[in-house]
């Protein structure tokens, strides 16, 4: 079956149940009491048996957080967040005796992942993908650990990394996204509970795609995962991240931090399919997705590539960025963002050119439908020393329906005459001509819209690893359901 046909099938199959990941898993959870205080920060740190330096680091972050203002500059709007209403730690009970193998994993948990469409075993075998599963706050299973260990790749929950290789974690943690970078990142620094840690040793090309699935399950739980990926000299890794959450009336908070470090000649490819619960048609419920993602191309000839497909969340606020320090380093940002109903997204990237001959490329495709509002916000900064730097930005918006909004806010700051920056942006709609042409050839209207939108996004979809590309194409169709007619 072709992709769009499949999309239509899928849309049909979930009519009435629009967000198909909206189930709650009934697993006994080990939770911290609601609210945030120094005691909670200590509780989390103790629960995770962390070293003293990390507790200090967290407390420092917490104290800074108390003083920091909320970011006001984005276009998203929401009532003030009551930080005391959330649980800052929630783990499935079975964490106390962690499963040694998949067979020991709570079957209910495995069933959850099956509903997500990622049966662990199958995916292990068929796709050869190593997966770290983060359920609410803690990592529940990492597959393929052994095979990775053979080549020296460390891929484990960050809490485990703190036991296995504390020096490595300490050396890089917070060096790309400083503790007080912004209020959301600062909160994450104080209360992060888990996330993935990846270290690729020099010269190693990671033999498989690494992947993490995040899921928020418990009610009133904030999720604050922290991901740190270090690609040592001459290494390569491709990392995939997916997210889902159950349907809830309240807004849940997700404030993650992702830090990437690429040393000389190293390359990191980071792909995200974000499909958090977007809230219902009237904007009730849904995830606040306030994420800080940043990569540092520290080494010469290093490369960091972000690809994101953002279809979920009530509010998305994220700007995966690259700091291009090393000479000849390369930063890329490929993005598809789809907002429908009452969703809001303010997303984009920053490319900070510091080294000589650094290049960056930004391809952003935004689709707004329903009553949603979407903003591309980007910064391209060329420092005086970035001789020969080059940036190309293409930023297109598509509007479907007359109640939505699409905005483009690019900042270009150039202080070097030998640098070339090019920016192009367009805003348009699906033309009546296009729809009629496709329908005249027999393609029904919803499928025709999905086809045009998939064509519009093609350049970005091509950047995704195969398995994700298919899923992303389906999501495009599902996310736009009900936006025409």
């Amino acid at each position: 079956m072709s992709a769009t046909a499949e999309t239509v099938e899928q849309v049909k199959s979930i009519s009435g149940e629009k967000y198909k990941y909206g189930f709650v898993t009934d697993i006994a959870a080990d939770k911290a009491p609601k609210g945030l205080s120094e005691d909670i920060v200590r509780f989390i740190s103790a629960k995770k048996r962390e070293p003293e330096w990390l507790l200090e680091w967290r407390l420092k972050a917490y104290r800074r957080w108390l003083e920091m203002p909320e970011p006001q500059w984005s276009k998203v709007q929401f009532p003030p967040i009551d930080y005391q209403q959330y649980h800052y730690y929630s783990a499935p009970k079975s964490d106390d005796d962690r499963p040694k193998s998949l067979d020991e994993v709570d079957p209910e948990l495995l069933a959850t992942y099956e509903k997500l469409g990622i049966p662990i075993k199958e995916q292990e075998v068929l796709a050869g993908v190593a997966v770290d599963y983060v359920f609410d706050s803690v990592s529940v299973a990492t597959t393929f650990k052994k095979k990775l260990e053979e080549v020296g790749v460390i891929f484990c929950p960050i809490s485990e990394a703190l036991e296995r290789c504390p020096d490595l974690v300490r050396k890089y943690l917070g060096t790309v996204v400083p503790v007080a970078d912004n209020k959301h990142a600062c909160l994450n620094s104080a209360v992060f509970t888990d996330g993935s840690f990846v270290y690729i040793p020099p010269g190693v090309k990671c033999p498989m795609e690494l992947s993490t699935y995040f899921r928020i399950n418990e009610m009133n739980t904030g999720q604050f995962e922290r991901t740190l990926i270090v690609a040592d000299k001459g290494s390569y890794v491709s990392y995939l991240e997916g997210c889902t959450a159950p349907m809830r009336d309240e807004n849940q908070l997700h404030a993650a931090v992702v830090e990437l470090v690429a040393l000389d000649d190293a390359e990191i490819k980071y792909s995200t399919v974000q499909n958090w619960y977007p809230g219902d048609e009237d904007g009730k419920g849904g995830i606040y997705n306030f994420v800080t993602k940043r990569g540092a191309c520290r080494g010469r000839n290093s490369k960091i590539s972000w690809t994101q497909v953002e279809t979920g969340s009530a509010i998305t606020w994220k700007y995966p960025s690259c700091i291009l320090q090393g000479d000849n380093s390369v930063g890329e940002f490929y993005s598809i963002a789809i907002t429908n109903n009452a969703q809001q997204a303010d997303t984009g990237t920053k490319m900070i050119h510091l080294g000589k001959n650094t290049t960056s490329r930004i391809i952003s495709k935004g689709i707004s439908a329903g009553k949603s509002d979407q903003t591309y916000r980007g910064l391209v900064k060329i420092s005086p020393k970035a001789e020969g730097a080059r940036n190309y930005t293409q930023c297109d918006s598509l509007l479907i329906g007359d109640k939505c909004g699409a905005h483009t806010v690019p900042y270009i700051e150039s202080k070097n005459k030998n640098a070339i920056v090019e920016h192009e942006a367009t805003t348009s709609t699906i033309s009546e001509d296009q729809l009629f042409y496709l329908r005249q050839r027999g393609i029904p209207e919803e499928a025709a819209v999905a086809l045009v939108v998939n064509g519009f996004c093609r350049e970005v979809l091509q950047q995704l690893p195969m398995e994700f590309a298919v899923e992303a194409q389906k999501l495009v169709g599902i996310s736009l359901e009900g936006s025409v007619g």
Binding site: D402, G405, V421, E422
Partner: protein, 443 residues
């Protein structure tokens, strides 16, 4: 009352101002003073002033101009030649000896603000402060409070002004830094047509601060072309705030050629208020030394079936810095809007800096909007190509810069003005060359 550090005597008007004795104007001035007092000078903390800091106002104290400030002898004033009328202001003071409005056609009023306030206060009350109504613009509020000069252009229904009218504003040549606050009011009634050329020129070595506000009402079916050359001195601070309203099937065309000024900020708010309205809002900037040039605009496509096109190109040498902030806003249900924006800048030196922010804010779906921005240096391949054909490097550079800016100047629909402006571009270039003549011939 309201003390401000950069202005001798603060905002208290202990001097004769145009329209003294008019109650409504007094209220407007008081309101402006109050608002400016509350807002203060804009700082980079404000998003719309992110890249521009009014530093010269920290470094100097300016004296509001007194009558004698306009007496200096000025020669060789710029002009586009054959005009229907001409007003010359020196440091904000009208110079009748240099002005000539004796030959205006029927139905055209073109004169200094204070004259209109005296002769026709009712008309002034009905039009002043109508188009410029924005909430939080400190520099507009300051002008409201202090307006001490400026002109009125009023073209009656259906009247077509065939020749342009011209305004020359000269600054400088005073012992102490001076400040003046021109307020310009332009009303083009339905189906009327007019072209205005404004020259801002700096003379002498004295610092001065010009804070102008211009209100433009282009009524239904009218055509108004607004051309400005800003050639202020290296000590000048030039801030101008323009508000324009464009009616049904009306056209508003604007070109801002910035070739001088220590610090300049041109801010424009344009509302396409009637269906079929079109706005061409263009400019070119050439800066060197420590000059700083900021072009900020907000074009509101408020109703369906409007079009706008914006082309801004610039060249920066030495440690000059330019800022371009453009925003096209398409209102909810303003379907079939067609908005285009382009900003391109050449950096000729490693100390130069460009900050550009071309923004689209769109709330209607059936639109065609696009923007583009580039920054870079002269095309090295083209430079080599020209040199390999025997053209000396300096000349080749000039040719390339000229052709680069030419794209923007091509947007000027008045052929004569375009020619005069191109001449100004050529004269800005490092060494004059025969190209100007050649260009004229081929154009």
């Amino acid at each position: 009352m309201t003390a401000v550090s950069f202005l001798e005597g603060g905002l208290d008007a202990n001097r004769a101002l145009p329209g003294d004795g008019l109650d409504w104007l007094k209220k407007r001035r008081d309101k402006g003073a109050e608002k400016f007092g509350a807002l203060g000078l804009p700082t980079p903390k404000l998003e719309s002033w992110k890249y521009t800091r009014l530093r010269p106002l920290d470094d100097n104290t300016y004296t509001p101009v007194l009558d004698g400030a306009g007496d200096a002898s000025v020669k060789d004033l710029p002009s586009v030649g054959d005009v229907a009328g001409r007003l010359v202001f020196v440091n904000g003071k009208l110079r009748e000896d240099l002005s000539d409005v004796s030959d205006l056609p029927e139905g055209v009023r073109f004169g200094p603000l204070d004259e209109i306030l005296k002769d026709d206060p009712a008309w002034a009350e009905a039009h002043l402060g109508v188009v410029a109504q924005d909430a939080d613009q400190a520099m507009l509020a300051l002008n409201d409070a202090m307006m001490d000069s400026g002109f009125v252009l009023h073209v009656q229904k259906g009247v077509v002004l065939r020749k342009p009218v011209e305004v020359v504003m000269v600054g400088g040549m005073t012992d102490q830094p001076v400040a003046y606050f021109p307020r310009n009011l332009i009303v083009i009634e339905p189906n009327a047509q007019a072209t205005l050329v404004k020259h801002h020129v700096g003379r002498g070595v004295g610092a001065y601060f010009a804070n102008a506000a211009t209100e433009i009402d282009v009524a239904d079916g009218a055509i108004f072309k607004n051309y400005k050359v800003q050639a202020e001195s290296m000590q000048a601070t030039h801030v101008s705030t323009t508000h324009a309203r464009v009616g049904r099937d009306a056209t508003f065309e604007s070109f801002n050629l910035s070739i001088g000024g220590l610090l300049s900020r041109s801010e424009a708010w344009i509302t396409l208020a009637g269906e079929g309205a079109h706005c061409g809002f263009n400019g070119a900037y050439m800066m060197r030394g420590n000059e700083h040039c900021d072009n900020t605009s907000y074009i509101d496509m408020a109703v369906p079936n409007t079009t706008c096109k914006q082309v801004y190109k610039g060249v920066l040498d030495d440690a000059a810095r330019a800022v371009f902030q453009g925003k096209i806003h398409v209102a909810r249900d303003a379907q079939k809007a067609d908005g285009r924006m382009l900003n391109k800048t050449l950096l000729l030196s490693n100390e130069a800096e460009i900050d550009t922010k071309p923004e689209l804010e769109i709330y209607a779906d059936d639109v065609q909007c696009a923007h583009g921005a580039t920054t870079g240096q002269l095309d090295q391949t083209a430079l080599f190509y020209l040199r390999s054909r025997g053209i000396p490097e300096a000349l080749a550079r000039n040719m390339l810069v000229q052709s680069f800016l030419g794209d923007a100047l091509d947007e000027i629909t008045d052929a004569h003005v375009r020619e005069v402006f191109m001449d100004r571009v050529v004269h800005w270039l490092p060494a004059h060359c025969y190209l100007a003549g050649e260009w004229k011939e081929s154009a």
